[in-house]
Amino acid sequence: MKITAKDGLLLILGMAVVTYLPRLLPMFLFSAEKLPSLIKRFLDFIPYAVLTTLIFPEILSSTAHPGSALAGGFISLLLAYYQNNLFLVVAGGIGAVFLCELLF
């Protein structure tokens, strides 16, 4: 898909602004005690929920074939559960996809 340079820069600017605002505003606006605990809890969960919805089901269309993506995802999952080493998890996933697509 092709985007014009102007549209592209506008999108990047939009992303930059919404990334910066949550960092900036609290420095002036509120103090941590005033936030209701339900909202704090909601915010606690966001990283996990967002990352999960980013992973699934999109991971299935990230490689040449859903089967190889599933294999790569599964190997990464196992490595993440037992090893907790970012580099290993990523390298294992890529290796599994590469092998799968070579063999099948």
């Binding site: 898909m1 985007i3 592209g8 506008l10 999108l11 990047i12 939009g14 992303m15 930059a16 919404v18 990334t19 910066y20 605002l21 949550p22 960092r23 900036l24 505003l25 609290p26 420095m27 103090s31 941590a32 936030l35 339900l38 909202i39 809890r41 909601f42 915010l43 606690d44 969960f45 966001i46 990283p47 996990y48 929920a49 967002v50 990352l51 999960t52 919805t53 980013l54 992973i55 699934f56 089901p57 999109e58 991971i59 990230s62 490689t63 190889s68 993506a69 790569g72 995802g73 990464s76 993440a80 907790n84 970012l86 580099f87 998890v89 990523v90 890529i94 996809v97 590469f98 697509e101």
Partner: protein, 247 residues
């Protein structure tokens, strides 16, 4: 981490400059950690069709991992400005809490411009280091802390983008899994420790699958699917698990 030449500088410098060098020292390991991750980002963005300089510009203006990965994915998928900014905003909401918490520890004499610059450098990692290492955060300390990670993040992206153009096609294809493998590596260890987080993840997978495959719902675009699934999972969590687990 002990870096001899920096420590010697710290001992001789005046107290204000000393803060800057302390920050530099604390930021060094973060910078090293950022290089491979931003390298992967550069690879993916360029593989998806962006020129390396645009990928680097994204890194230098956003300075965040999940948010800019997701935003860039949506740009490549041709999503609308509203979808892209809303999804990115949602992912970045966690910075509200970090900035809030860091705001309580700031030195009292900061100017507006200094606060704005410090806020820009808040990431998961700089936040963690600054809040653990310092009881009062000065401008120069934070500045020193940010410089290394910022340069590492930008340089890694540029290198990844340039290297991508030289990789054979078969390897490039396999690299499509990189981003997802990275997310798995971030999500799984906390889920292993907390039953609540595992449940949130299960809910998110369920809602996300429903929105992708159920008739009628699958017309939703990707950005809204991510937003809705995230909000439902977090609301579910905040409602049924309102308190932190006691370990």
């Amino acid at each position: 981490m002990h870096i001899p030449f920096l420590s010697r500088r710290i001992a001789t410098a005046d107290p204000r400059r000393q803060d800057f060098f302390l920050g530099l020292r604390d930021g060094f390991p973060i910078a090293l950690g950022y290089v491979p991750v931003s390298f992967a980002f550069g690879l993916l963005a360029v593989r998806g069709g962006l020129p390396p300089w645009i990928a680097t510009l994204i890194s230098l203006t956003n300075l965040t991992s999940a948010g800019q990965f997701a935003g860039t994915n949506l740009i490549l998928a041709g999503a609308s400005l509203l979808e892209i900014t809303f999804t990115t905003f949602l992912i970045n909401l966690r910075y509200l809490l970090m900035s809030l918490s860091l705001g309580q520890k700031l030195a009292p004499d900061l100017t507006l411009g200094q606060r704005c610059l410090m806020a820009f450098g808040i990431t998961d990692e700089t936040f963690a280091v600054a809040s653990v290492e310092r009881s009062e955060i000065t401008f120069l300390y934070m500045l020193g802390l940010i410089v290394g990670p910022y340069l590492g993040w930008g340089t890694g992206t540029l290198l990844g983008g340039i290297v991508c153009t030289f990789l054979p096609a078969s390897l490039q294809k396999a690299l499509g899994i990189t981003l997802y493998a990275m997310f798995i590596a971030i999500v799984v260890p906390p889920a292993k420790k907390s039953r609540t987080i595992s449940i949130i993840i299960a809910v998110a997978v369920g809602v996300s699958s429903a929105l992708t495959w159920l008739p009628g719902l699958r017309l939703l675009s990707e950005g809204w699917r991510i937003t809705i699934a995230t909000v439902v999972a977090c609301l579910f969590g905040a409602t049924f698990f309102p308190r932190k687990e006691v370990k």
